[in-house]
């Protein structure tokens, strides 16, 4: 159904050497993510969902198996500016205005001044923060700060957006709002999104595919293709289809816990 695979993991292994002996963060992970997919990773802590995202971003290096991003190694993909990464904390620089924060990756990548200005205006519009470019981060609410950090990740127009629990620290109302906005942004830009979350409703609401993972060793226990349409109002969360998928995710999570 997806003509083009952008992220392909084959039998991926990652073992951390710690003082308490080796920890298998990922074991035999096989996964294909197609262009334009919205893939959520859900599971308890230690299941390797964040680790997988970090491997895609070349922040961790697998100890076994193979992974390609756009057909190249994660390091090469980084050099090709294939992905933007959004962390749990917005991590905006307090000494830079919002516009200057968004320019940070552009400065590092050597964009010209005019291009920087243009990109900043474009992405501020994408995340509904027009007019806030001159503000400092402390002048914005937590939700707005996280939107600014998404704008920063989008600044250099990467095709892949990797998001590690981006809304985990926000309250539920703000979170709903941001989820809606994220879907709208995804529909408008056609980005491929990898999204780590703890929340079942969030995963079901956002994703075209949900990857359920379990810990010790970190592995994939279920991959659920969502039958929900791409167009999703918030009310879709009360439909039987939605509840059925949420149920299946919960079952998957429970099964993963069976061995401890």
């Amino acid at each position: 159904m997806n003509e083009k695979t952008v992220i392909e993991a084959k039998n991926l292994d990652l073992t951390f050497e710690t003082n308490d002996g080796p920890v298998r963060a990922l074991k035999g992970v096989n996964l294909n993510i197609g262009k334009g997919d919205f893939v959520s990773f859900i599971g308890p802590s230690g299941c390797g969902k964040t680790t997988f995202l970090r491997v895609v971003a070349a922040l961790e290096h697998p100890t076994g198996g193979a992974i390609t991003v756009n057909g190249a190694s994660p390091e090469e993909a980084r050099r090709n500016r294939a992905y933007g990464y959004v962390f749990q904390a917005a991590g905006l620089y307090p000494w830079r205005t919002i516009a200057k924060n968004i320019k940070l990756p552009l400065e590092i990548m050597g964009y010209s001044r005019e291009k920087q200005e243009k990109r900043v205006n474009d992405v501020l519009q994408l995340v509904d923060l027009e007019g806030f470019g001159g503000k400092y981060p402390w002048q914005l609410s937590g939700g707005m700060q996280q939107r600014a950090s998404i704008a920063r990740a989008l600044a250099f127009d990467a095709d892949i957006l990797l998001m590690d629990e981006p809304f985990g620290a926000l309250d539920e109302i703000v979170r709903d709002h941001l989820n809606e906005q994220l879907l709208a942004l995804w529909a408008r830009t056609g980005k491929t999104i990898g999204f780590v979350t703890h929340s079942i409703p969030e995963a079901v609401y956002l994703s075209t595919r949900i990857v359920v993972m379990s810990p010790r060793p970190g592995r994939i226990t279920d991959v659920i293709e969502s039958p929900l349409p791409r167009e999703r109002p918030l009310e879709i969360r009360d439909t039987p289809e939605f509840i059925e998928i949420a149920h299946r995710v919960r079952e998957g999570l429970r099964a993963g816990h069976g061995d401890d």
């Binding site: 971003a57 922040l59 933007g84 990464y85 991590g91 620089y93 307090p94 940070l104 590092i108 400092y136």
Partner: protein, 290 residues
Amino acid sequence: MMRNAGPIAVVLLVIAVMWYAGSFFMNRAWTMDQAERAGTTPTLSEVFRDTMQQDRARLPAPHQIASELYEGTFKKKTNSKRSFVYHGYITLEATMAGFVLGIILGVTLAIVIVLSRVFDLMLMPWAIISQTIPVIALAPMIVILTNAMGAGSLLVPKAIVAAYLSFFPVLVSMVKGLRSPSAMQLDLLRTYGASPSQVFWKLRLPSSMPYFFASLKIAVAAALVGAIVGELPTGAIAGLGARMLIGSQFGEPMIMWAALFAAAILAAMLIWVVSGVEKVAARMMGVREA
């Protein structure tokens, strides 16, 4: 500011009362001695009045010191050897030279230590040991060595002593400041493929600025102490430290006390200036105003 005024006034009042009491008790012996020699018996109020106006009191009263300080600051020509402006300027010169030298040394060492694990292991212990050596013992040696190398005046050795004391707080704070970015912030820059020098200029250095300015207040006070200490065991005849020493050697406690207060006022002024610079810098870096 106004909120602090009340408590500060109370403390000042308590100190003044204790000081006057101390002056009375410590200077009374001399008054009684004089009276005995003259064959008179003074009343209590006569004794009190006398203890407050002796020229060579053991403990001069606050108003005596204040008037000495006032005379020495505003009533003498600024190039007079009895002017606190003259002596203060000599000390300030060495303080500022040492302060700037200390900042350069502290920041440079901190950068080297943060960027290289080897230098961290090599330099940090020595930086700590350097602060355990009594600086008063080092000062004469620094004078001899700098003279042998042709320094020609006391400014250079005094500035070196001042730098010796002031580089350390800058070093410690800057090491902490340059290491303050979180793993997440460093990861973010890695995803942009930032070079080590970009990480330094765009993240580490700006992150360290609050630590840097906090350390400057300590460093400037340490530099002043260093400059004064540099004047004590080196035969200096000019500077606030020299003034204190002369006061003590020639039995002029008033000069000693006045020089001491002049140094304290100078320190307060320096810290006030540094705080002002800090505020301006904070505003430029977009810090929320408290």
